[in-house]
């Protein structure tokens, strides 16, 4: 009765051969690479025996037993554990890019340990796990609290997780900058170092990884139901919320325990499942199995690379966290090419908006913000603490104070304006409310080049920095465009590509941090936006530049209104879609780069300002652009003022302050309307 044609009956699908082959190549390669330096001194059998015994008369054998063997074991153990945790996380959220890293769990664990180190060192001596687990639970608890009403919609969960990662990262940095002398060793620990000098840590760790792993396997069948989406899974009798919660708690336990022992080993939990999936692991069972194996192999390889780099370099330590991030970035890029249907992620149905956007008069709102800006300017110029208390500088004396207070305030304000504009542009173009220079990795790209310059030891002026940042921003945008062309710049692909770029930047940053020294603190200051470095001519140059761009943007209002209607509608209305997108992305890149040089890559302003404009009732493009620009300017000029006075006579980076305030605002907004 069914006349459906075409396909032939096919045999039961099996696992493609490439999967076991790739896994064994990975393992063999990693093992050989790891063992090679030792084979000069020990024969293979003796090296193998190093795992359980040693020959006290032979130095190499003792070294192998107490240093090499535990390091290999712990790398494999952690890799396997994180691979499994990653695969489970992806299944829980039905999202090929979820992982303990992207959910904020690892950042939470690190945050917990940092706080404990500072305020309750006794707790660490008692059990380092507790602090880390507490931090991880805090992070995931925040994510859950924020997304509870949305039934854990996968996209929102991952985005909330990312914001929390950034936010906790910024908190960590704030502690580092304020109390750097106490936390110096956290630099290295935070970057994930697997160096071992006995079997103690491994013996400690293995039951803590094995138990959650077994419990995860018990949850396998309910987890499989989640693949059918919330409605179907619950109509099959699975308690979707409970299953997700249990599995998430297990993931948190596993990954934060690892964090508390060896620091953040980022992206193994993301890369391993992605690789397994790309190589053809299809069913949940096979995905879990092969992710676990891939995770072990990957981390062993990454750790060996880190070890080699440390040995061959100038002796400075290269933490494993750096090399895992270097491996993780390309894997995400690969994944982007592989997953064609990420926009069909389960649970991402379009539902009617839960709140009706209000509209308010733009003159009123604009007027209020301009007034606030003026007030901020006056206060910032006049009212400041001195060594002998607060005093007021009269307008007639402003020219004397200008050199100290003026350029940095102007630059901060302009950076805010630029980020507000860039954020609005990007959100409109991608039709993605989470799109922003920070989230798309454009700031990250700019920062990456700056990090490289610092690493290479080159002295370039401010102009050189601006050039480099623009180059970096344009390069990362170019890469994004190449990646996203296939998907015609669809929203989620862009976001995920940005994530990959962020990973690269992170890797560079970790490397610098681990090397320590003055370079590290200089870079930290810049990364978190030290406006005090800005000179008068630079500020004025920025002013002229932003004015020109604003003029250009007037021409772009109508295309921006059309683009969110979708490619088909926009092009059938006569808009050259691809070219318009390209041009607008370029403008966004230039704006971002100019702001990044001043305020660093992590300020959140590009994300918040457009939102703020919407919340304030500006729904059309033109109005949103204007109000977002003003709001961005206001945010950063206030942040600049506060950064000057909060820890007077010390200075906080304004960008860091903006990131902290912005992060809080953003999380609040997310929980408020849910749809972010």
């Amino acid at each position: 009765m069914y006349a459906d044609s075409t396909s032939l009956p096919s045999a039961r699908p099996t696992i493609p051969v490439s999967l076991p082959i790739a896994a064994s190549i990975l393992w063999l390669g990693a093992l050989i690479a790891s063992a090679t330096p030792w084979l000069n001194q020990l024969d293979p059998v003796a090296l193998l025996q190093a795992f359980w015994t040693f020959d006290a008369s032979q130095y190499a054998s003792v070294m192998a037993h107490f240093s090499w063997a535990p390091r290999v074991s712990i790398a494999v153990l952690i890799g396997c554990g994180l691979g499994l945790a990653g695969a489970v996380t992806q299944q829980i959220l039905g999202n090929p890019l979820a992982s303990p890293t992207t959910l904020g769990v690892e950042a939470g664990g690190q945050f917990g340990v940092t706080v404990a180190t500072l305020f309750a060192p006794g707790l660490l001596a008692f059990s380092p796990d507790l602090a880390a687990i507490g931090g991880g639970l805090l992070a995931i608890g925040l994510v859950i609290a924020l997304t509870w009403r949305l039934g854990f919609s996968p996209v929102t969960v991952v985005l909330a997780g990312l914001v929390i990662t950034f936010f906790l990262g910024a908190m960590n940095m704030a502690f580092l900058l304020l109390k750097g002398e106490w936390l110096g060793n956290l630099f290295i620990w935070g970057a994930g170092s697997l160096v071992q000098n006995n079997w103690g840590p491994f013996m400690d760790l293995w039951p803590r990884v094995l138990v959650p792993a077994l419990l995860m396997l018990v949850l396998m069948r309910p987890l499989q139901l989640l693949q059918l989406g919330q409605a179907s899974a619950s109509s099959l009798g699975a308690r979707v919320g409970l299953v997700r919660m249990l599995a998430l708690v297990l993931v948190v336990l596993m990954s934060t325990t690892v964090v508390s022992r060896v620091g953040v080993v980022a992206f193994i939990g993301l890369a391993a499942p992605v690789l397994a999936r790309l190589l053809g692991a299809r069913t949940l069972g096979s995905r879990l199995l092969w992710s676990t194996l891939m995770g072990g192999g990957l981390l062993l390889l990454a750790d060996t690379l880190a070890h080699w780099a440390s040995t061959w370099g100038d002796g400075s330590l290269v933490p494993t966290g750096t090399t895992t991030a270097l491996i993780g970035g390309p894997v995400i890029l690969l994944a982007l090419q592989g997953f064609r249907n990420t926009h069909h992620m389960p649970g991402q149905e379009s539902s009617p908006a839960s709140f009706l956007p209000r509209r308010r008069s733009p003159t009123l709102i604009g007027g209020i913000i301009v007034t606030l800006l003026l007030i901020t300017t006056v206060i910032s110029m006049s009212w400041s603490p001195g060594l002998d208390g607060w005093h007021w500088t009269a307008v007639s004396q402003w020219h004397e104070a200008w050199v100290w207070r003026g350029p940095r305030m102007l630059a901060a304000m302009l950076a805010g304006v630029a980020l507000g504009l860039a954020g609005t542009l990007i959100q409109r173009m991608t039709g993605n409310p989470m799109g922003s220079p920070e989230m798309l990795g454009i700031s990250g790209g700019a920062a990456l080049l700056m990090v490289l310059i610092v690493l290479s030891g080159l002295e370039v002026g401010r102009l050189g920095q601006l050039g480099a940042a623009t180059l970096g921003a344009a390069a990362s945008l170019g890469l994004l465009i190449l990646l996203a062309r296939k998907h015609r710049f669809a929203g989620n692909q862009l976001l995920l590509g940005g994530l990959a770029l962020y990973v690269f930047m992170e890797a560079g940053l970790r490397l610098v941090m681990a090397s320590g020294g003055t370079v590290a603190s200089q870079l930290l200051n810049w990364m978190y936006g030290s406006t005090w470095l800005v000179s008068e001519s630079e500020a004025l140059g920025l002013l002229a530049f932003i004015t020109v761009i604003c003029g250009l943007l007037c021409l772009a209002v109508r295309p921006l209104t059309l683009l969110p209607l979708g490619d088909t509608s926009a092009s059938s209305l006569g808009l050259p879609v691809a070219r318009a997108r390209l041009l607008l992305l370029l403008v966004a890149a230039v704006l971002t780069a100019s702001a990044t040089v001043v305020i660093g890559p992590l300020s959140f302003v590009g994300l918040i300002a457009p939102h703020l404009a919407r919340v304030l009732g500006q729904q059309t493009v033109g109005r949103q652009l204007i109000v977002a620009a003003l709001a961005g300017g206001l945010l950063l000029s206030v942040a600049d003022y506060l950064s000057r006075i909060v820890v007077f006579p010390g200075q906080l980076p304004a960008g860091l302050l903006a990131a902290l305030v912005g992060g809080i605002y953003f999380l609040w907004g997310l929980s408020r309307h849910g749809r972010a």
Partner: protein, 257 residues
């Protein structure tokens, strides 16, 4: 026939908007009922409440005489199966694997699948005519085949009731008719209670035993197709003036003036 679902005094509010108001309704066992109504009339909401996907603001629903509050998740899933309006992408699952998930309510997280389960899975695949596609990935099937794969999963669930939310809205005429014919046949063979949300009044009248119509959240019509397929009645449901012809016994054609 006894009541399968009993809905009394049901109301749903989202914010200030009342989606459903004071619905009293019984769905009898072994009957195929179509829910009709214009967009936003609350028919999908009513179905979601029957499927326990949503909880009502007021009123109560009971299944087989037991209130919803007193039924466990898997127990409920063994009684009532629900097919959402847009089943999600299945991410590489084959037809057989998808259908096998329908046995979850019976076996739970750890129970082994026995021969009976495998027989039921095969039976469901055969009943929906998907034998040839058994090992194909669900994502690569056409719309009609995919819909049948999901229905097969509901069959393997061995429930006494199917709730289908616009199962034919994305299909062409041929697949629409085939899907409804399949549902009708299965309902007869297995004495299933079926509640289905439909937009096409003619197909509903053709394949269902009973038509229930909602309008802005209130019950406006309830009866045999013969009683509903009437120009004045349809006009009151849809708010446009309509006419009806009975071409042959049990086959109506409605049209808009």
């Amino acid at each position: 026939m006894s009541a399968f679902f009993k809905v009394s005094g049901l109301g749903v509010r989202i914010g200030d908007a009342a989606i459903l108001r004071n619905i009293h309704l019984e769905f009898r066992e072994g009957e195929v009922t179509a829910l009709l109504g214009h967009n936003g009339s609350g028919k999908s909401t009513l179905l979601k409440i029957l499927a326990r996907q949503m909880s009502p603001s007021c009123g109560d629903v009971s299944v087989l005489g037991t209130s919803f509050h007193h039924t466990g998740a898997r127990e409920f899933a063994r009684t009532v199966g629900y097919l959402p309006q847009h089943p999600p992408g299945t991410d590489g699952l084959t037809v057989q694997e998808l259908v096998a998930l329908g046995r979850y309510p019976w076996r739970g997280p750890l129970g082994r699948y026995n021969d009976e389960d495998h027989r039921l899975i095969d039976q469901a695949i055969t009943d929906t005519g998907l034998d040839r596609f058994r090992h194909r990935s669900v994502d690569t099937l056409s719309g009609g085949e995919r819909q049948r794969a999901w229905i097969a999963m509901l069959l393997a669930q061995q429930t006494r009731c199917l709730l289908l939310d616009e199962p034919i809205s994305a299909l062409d005429v041929k697949h629409q008719v085939e899907t409804l014919r399949l549902v009708h046949r299965l309902a007869e063979q297995r004495e299933l209670t079926v509640v289905v949300v439909l937009h096409d009044v003619d197909l509903a009248a053709r394949f269902c035993d009973r038509l229930v119509a909602l309008k802005t959240g209130e019950l406006v019509a309830d009866g045999r197709p013969r009683e509903i397929m009437d120009a004045a009645m349809l006009e009151s449901i849809y708010g446009v003036s309509m006419g009806v012809m009975e071409r042959a016994p049990g086959q109506w054609v409605s049209y808009v003036h």
